[in-house]
Symmetry: C2
Subunit: 418 residues, 2 copies
């Protein structure tokens, strides 16, 4: 018998039929003797409908009331799912975030979980019930309903798994796991049996949008192994877990691709302390996400600073930087859209040398120019022309032999057979 | 400054436009310096939609989960209404039933309020906020969400008014008050400026469906004056309040009409102790509502028991009574549909004699036969042929001169000008 937290997103519970399907899966898991907490999102489309109603009340609805409104979406799903499980002969009890003891700060619409008091959840589990738990929501210190923002239901699942000491957390979604690369781009991309937290984090920050980084960070912090798998079929998924020695034998775990990038270059920036600070503070205050920063100083004492932003942010960046560049004397900005970022991620890099060279060689052989390079301990990222990015992904994927079938990795002992 | 509880039903908040309209009314009341709690129902149609979803999960959904589901309806309205009031420049805070300290028993879908702990509501009011409060719902002793059943939002409003010691409770609805008779039947029916709790109760139990009896009973028990008025315009409504001397000068307050009745007569019932008990226990256990019971015993020692039920209940009554009648020897049942009940209600009856005679005379002059008669201290009810019931209502209404305009009654001191 294992203690399992399952999570189903909005698409997986998007209609009555799909909720009934989820109910059967959950009940199947419970009938095999497992204790189950099922975290669910609002039915697909419901949140947008509620936001539409809110917009009719006010162009800028109060975040506190927005949370009260949005929380009804998950509350609807947990009740329906509990009914469906009961109808199958199971015993299910629904719980809202506040009822399940999920305490958050009061940053409405993007609250952080401060603490989980899982006593009520445990009591229901001990009584043999399946708990259907509303994702995405909690309660503030003053007893208000809060929501956790984008990806909040994943966070609910992983945090609750940590709080009740679950053996496994299963994130059911419309993809069947994490792939070595996007299969629409690289036809022989392969589903990974497992991946480490750090690799998953680098993949998430590099455009592989299976999960938000904060949920992965939470899982890493509390040592919660979790599995990303398909809600549509029973095939295996990808286990995201602590690093172990076997993992290091694979140098590159996956390749991720981020399109719609732009490169901004600031030329003739005086090489004096504080220049970079003033530039990036201005960008930060305008809410512009900056990635990959590269700086060179020429002999003349003038620096050249390049960085990438989302292509849609070019105009805003121009606006934000104009006054700063004026203050910095003759500095001037140029921007280029039409670039993409390609990242190779793998913890094996730490113990293998020459990985970057191998990647650059593969791109050079294909005649693809590299514009910028940025590295972390377990990632090498380059920017390239967007029109060649798919070809680049295939080339690098092949260079590291990611398409081959590797031998199935042994699952950790704690994993239940579900 | 007064402390006011307002309640708006599902029709009054049935669309975004109507919620905005309610927001303006509430904000208007608050801006005049009043403290306001607004109780709202689910938007019209929402409850039916949720019940439809539930039916797709299970033919008999768990009542506990049905309450979790249905409670989302009011939660949606309180959030939207609070947003709308905030947008007008007001300050509103939404509260669910559980948040507002409404504690109920655990009879899901038809819970009774056990206690209200209004501290949180008071705190928000003291801070100058309007509270938008979810009607129809509360929390059980084990922290589950409960709902109060039909008419639950009225009950929430009146109970909360009692708990916070409100000066007035206003029930906004799609009619503009309580009338001397249904204006669709009696064209010169007149809106009453006020009516006593007991009269309102008799009117409610006699088919005037402005409010459920249990809400009126609650108001009477806790001495909460409440006003029934239109949510569509600003005209005056009907104040339901304690009796006072002025009221007794009016003998009959109103006439109410209940159609679709049937008369069931049990003949040759042995006049032995326990006969009636066995008959009405059988009906009660079948959930059949029995009204107006009349019994006569003939010299032969056999009794004849007549009573009224809803016409739709005839077949069920037959089924429920068959075994009992067999046990009672030669007793046999006959039933007649097509009858209606006409009631004249007024506390003035207590101190006036001859009221019944006057009513019977009016009916006799019109050639309308009376089938059964039943009286209480403040009510005379008769059954008549359904096809003549509208004529009967007009005749009795005229006989008691209810169509005249009476001088406006002074409002009690505590009533705020809203």
């Amino acid at each position: 018998m294992a203690l399992i937290v399952q999570k189903y997103g909005g698409t997986s519970v998007g209609s009555s039929e799909r909720i009934l399907h989820v109910a059967r899966r959950v009940w199947e898991t419970a009938r095999q003797g497992n204790q189950v907490v099922v975290v669910v999102s609002a039915m697909g489309g419901v949140t947008d409908r509620l936001l539409g109603l809110a917009a009719e009340m006010s162009p800028v609805p109060s975040p506190r009331e927005l949370d009260v409104l949005l929380a009804t979406g998950e509350q609807t799903t947990i009740a329906l799912l509990a009914m469906a499980i009961n109808q199958l002969g199971g015993r299910a009890v629904s719980m809202t975030g506040p009822q399940a003891g999920i305490r958050t700060d009061d940053a409405h619409t993007r609250a952080r979980i401060l603490e989980i008091r899982p006593d009520a959840v445990r009591r229901h589990l001990d009584e043999g019930a399946v708990v259907t738990l509303a994702g995405f929501q909690g309660e503030t210190p003053t007893g208000r309903i809060s929501t956790l923002g984008r990806g909040g239901s994943d966070l609910t699942a992983i945090s609750m798994a940590a709080a009740i000491g679950a053996d496994l957390c299963q994130i059911f979604t419309d993809v069947d796991g994490v792939y070595t690369c996007d299969p629409r781009v690289v036809p022989d991309a392969r589903r990974l049996n497992e991946i480490s937290y750090d690799e998953m984090l680098e993949m998430a920050s590099s455009g592989s949008k299976v999960m938000q980084a904060r949920s992965v960070e939470c899982a890493k912090k509390y040592h919660v192994p979790f599995e990303v798998r398909s809600s549509l079929h029973n095939g295996p998924g990808t286990l995201v877990t602590e690093e172990h020695q076997n993992m290091e034998s694979v140098i590159i775990r996956g390749i991720s691709l981020e399109r719609d990038q732009a490169k901004i270059t600031l030329n003739d920036v005086p090489d004096v302390p504080g220049s970079a600070f003033r530039i990036f503070r201005a960008l930060g205050e305008s809410g512009i996400n900056v990635d990959m920063i590269v700086q060179n100083v020429s002999k003349s004492g003038l620096a050249r600073i390049s960085f990438t932003v989302y292509r849609n942010d070019i105009a805003r960046a121009d606006e934000a930087l104009s006054p700063v560049l004026s203050e910095l004397g003759g500095a001037w900005m140029e921007s280029h859209g039409g670039i993409a970022k390609l990242s190779a991620v793998g913890i094996g890099m730490r113990s293998h040398s020459g990985v970057a060279a191998e990647m650059f060689e593969a791109l050079a052989e294909a005649g693809i120019s590299i514009q910028m390079i940025s590295t972390s301990e377990i990632k090498i990222a380059v920017t390239i022309a967007e029109e060649r990015c798919e070809e680049a992904a295939r080339v690098v994927h092949a260079a590291f032999d990611l398409g081959r079938t590797d031998s199935p990795l042994p699952l950790p002992k704690s994993q239940p057979q579900v």
